[in-house]
């Protein structure tokens, strides 16, 4: 039973955006009740152990019933064909895995990294530089590293000198203030791939590398301007923490980060209930539009809040935002016991050098073909806390409803076979973007789940932006800004040398 029946804000779901909003609101002095019907933190961004993943998949492939609550039935329509293979020999270590429902990377200069630092949640979560980005070369039947930085371009022995110059020119262009550049004027809508080939004389292979592995576009048709804006942010991310643009979060990334924000919220007085006691029902907006009420099994009385923050998944049909479509993505997550070839050391050891032990993380992009969509693979080793030593986690996903179509790609990433595998299809509802809401106008703050084509590189920043938006919608012109340091607040906890 809770101490109180009323809160400034009730937040449903512990997804990353919700968790960021929760921490920011608690820090700003709001009373926060944070509920999640799942037994685990992270919602659609959760990191799951192997057994949790099996349960997750089993629950989502059960027959829906009329008795289902809103969240459960939303999960049934969101996920399809979820299955996992038996744990087998991995069973004893099942809890040592952290498998993400949201395979994603954090750009070193982006929204989330700023929020992590401002909130001090960075103290709870470890990150590592992504070791490499590669493009699948079908002719060679192998992955080829994509040079991401100036140094990489110079070192790359597979690119001829004139090509290097062209590539450098294109990278410089993408890193600069191209909006006003004559080269781009009038071609903003041209597909990026065509624009790069035409404007910089790049070979098809190099143009593909820039399109799919630097701009991280998902199709050859993505227009030049927004793709270049993304590429610029990624290129400018290089150098902040090392020679590469992206960071991999420990223990599954997004889910761990969400836990960090939830802890921060609790530290500032937020209350947490997870599991069946936290399943909301009877969500009602008061007639005067000034509050929301709901019930949960864990509390005998109706709970009221000045604001309710949640994703559409929790809302009854009458309150759900209009959906303007769905984006269908098939996912496969596999555990492998042989080092995937894409992690092989970049360069054979030269004289006098120690043999490199190989990479721990990699992104591998399979460019689209006439018959297959673009497929992305994210590989993580034990250094990321995703799995025990001597094993690797492979995520594969593509915009398709046919989860079996990923299997040949899994064979290319992990030719020696897999020890365990989960597969599922997700239909992410694309909510109609909220009309620029007047601060405090509605007691209901609805978060938009990510439904774009750039989950890998944009998903985390999207969630961070949604979290900040929710904070602003609730706190508005409050005296406290988003994770603003209070005047007299010092780093008292860390008066220690290091």
């Amino acid at each position: 039973m809770l101490d109180s029946d009323s809160y400034d804000t009730v937040i449903l779901g512990t997804g990353l955006a919700q968790s960021i909003a929760a921490a920011a609101l608690a820090k700003a002095g709001k009373s926060v009740l944070h509920l999640d019907p799942n037994e685990y933190y992270g919602g659609a961004q959760a990191s799951l152990t192997l057994d949790e993943f099996a349960t997750w998949a089993a629950e989502r492939s059960e027959q829906p019933t009329d008795a289902d609550d809103e969240y459960t039935s939303a999960q049934h329509s969101r996920y399809e064909s979820a299955s996992t293979t038996p744990l087998g020999s991995l069973a004893p270590d099942r809890r040592r895995y952290a498998l993400s429902l949201f395979p994603s990377l954090m750009a070193s200069r982006g929204t989330l990294v700023g929020t992590l630092i401002a909130s001090d949640v960075s103290k709870y979560v470890g990150f590592r530089l992504l070791d490499s980005v590669s493009l699948w070369d079908d002719a060679k039947g192998a992955a080829a590293r994509v040079p991401g930085s100036k140094e990489d371009v110079f070192k790359d022995k597979s690119v001829s000198l004139p090509d290097k110059r062209r590539l450098m020119k294109a990278l410089l262009f993408a890193a600069g203030e191209f909006e006003e550049d004559e080269v781009l004027k009038g071609h903003e809508e041209e597909p990026l791939l065509a624009f790069l080939t035409r404007s910089f004389g790049l070979s098809q292979r190099l143009a593909e590398a820039l399109t799919y592995a630097v701009a991280h576009a998902s199709s050859p048709d993505e227009p030049a301007l927004p793709s270049l804006i993304r590429a610029r942010r990624y290129i400018r991310s290089i150098g902040r923490y090392g020679p590469r643009a992206f960071l991999v979060g420990q223990y599954g990334g997004a889910g761990e980060v969400a836990q960090g924000f939830c802890r921060a919220c609790a530290v500032f007085g937020g209350t947490y209930i997870l599991g069946p006691d936290a399943v909301p029902s009877d969500i009602t907006v008061a007639n005067d539009n000034a509050s929301v009420s709901l019930k949960i099994p864990g509390h005998p009385r109706t709970i009221t809040a000045t604001h309710l923050v949640c994703s559409p998944d929790f809302l009854p049909a009458s309150l759900k935002p209009e959906s303007i479509g769905t984006k269908t993505t098939a996912y496969t997550v596999a555990v492998v016991a042989t080092r995937p070839p894409v992690l092989a050391p970049a360069n054979a050891a030269e004289e006098g050098e120690e043999e490199e032990e190989g990479d721990d993380t990699a992104v591998l992009v399979f460019p689209p073909t006439d018959t297959t969509p673009l497929v992305r693979a994210l590989v993580m080793g034990e250094g990321t806390g995703s799995c025990p030593q001597g094993q690797w986690v492979v995520y594969l996903w593509a915009e398709t409803g046919d989860v079996k179509s990923l299997q040949p790609f899994l064979g290319k990433v992990a030719p020696e076979g897999v020890s365990w595998q989960a597969s599922y299809v997700e239909h992410a509802a694309q909510a109609k973007p909220a009309a620029s809401e007047e601060t405090g106008a509605s007691p209901l703050v609805i978060l938009e789940p990510y439904a774009g084509p750039h989950l890998l590189t944009e998903g985390l920043d999207w969630e961070a932006a949604q979290g900040e938006r929710a904070f602003t919608a609730v706190a508005g012109d409050d005296e406290h800004g988003f994770f603003e340091k209070a005047e007299d607040e010092d780093d008292e906890e860390d008066g220690d040398d290091e």
């Binding site: 590592r128 600069g176 223990y251 609790a266 500032f268 209350t271 947490y272 806390g385 906890e493």
Partner: protein, 260 residues
Amino acid sequence: MASEDPSVKAVQVKLVLLGEAAVGKSSLVLRFVQNDFNENTSPTIGAAFLTQKCRLENRVVKFEIWDTAGQERFHSLAPMYYRNAAAAVVVYDITKAASLEKAKAWVKELQRQANPNIVIALVGNKLDLVEGADGEEASTPTEAPEAADEDAPADEDEDGTPPPPAAAPASEGPRQVSHAEAKAYADECGLLFFEASAKAGTNVQDVFTEIAKTIPLDTITPKPAAGGAQNRRSAANAAAGDASAVNLGDGAAAKKGGCC
């Protein structure tokens, strides 16, 4: 604390606190870290974690202390809380029998969730309240004991609200958990065991010193490139032999920008 010896590098150790509300977890930390006691502590708010060094003859252990901050109330501690914790202090209140039962539940939870080598100390707090009653410590408490939610039903007594300032007179009855009972349980489960008083300072330092002595440091000392996963990844060990690990806060130093 002992004088600085630059030749001994502090080993960072994550220590988590667990126990029913109002048993004195935060007070024990406050006593250990600042040698202070506050009669009217509010339920834990505002400290991400506190750090304190413990110097032994041959090692310096820097405790990174995680207080539960309310997530334990409905058993909703995140896996992150237990992750890489090398030590746990599970606290009960010797004047509340139910709090020992809660402590036992937390020990079970630790055995399920935490790293198998974790050092667990069971601490019976508020020893000052039973001084005299036990016979061996003769003095009577000079200050009124703090008001506890004594008459709340046993299963709903984790009221997180701060007790009214030192009001209710000696309602906190005498000892409800005997030293022998708790000690027997601790021995059975292989836990360190202390009775302590955050208020009087009794035994508090000893809890942490004993933990520092007991922790098998080889399991937590960073081993460069040795592949001990636990070590390679912890953010605290970012500098130690793991080139790919980054500390987000350090990015300020490298703000100058992109490659091109």
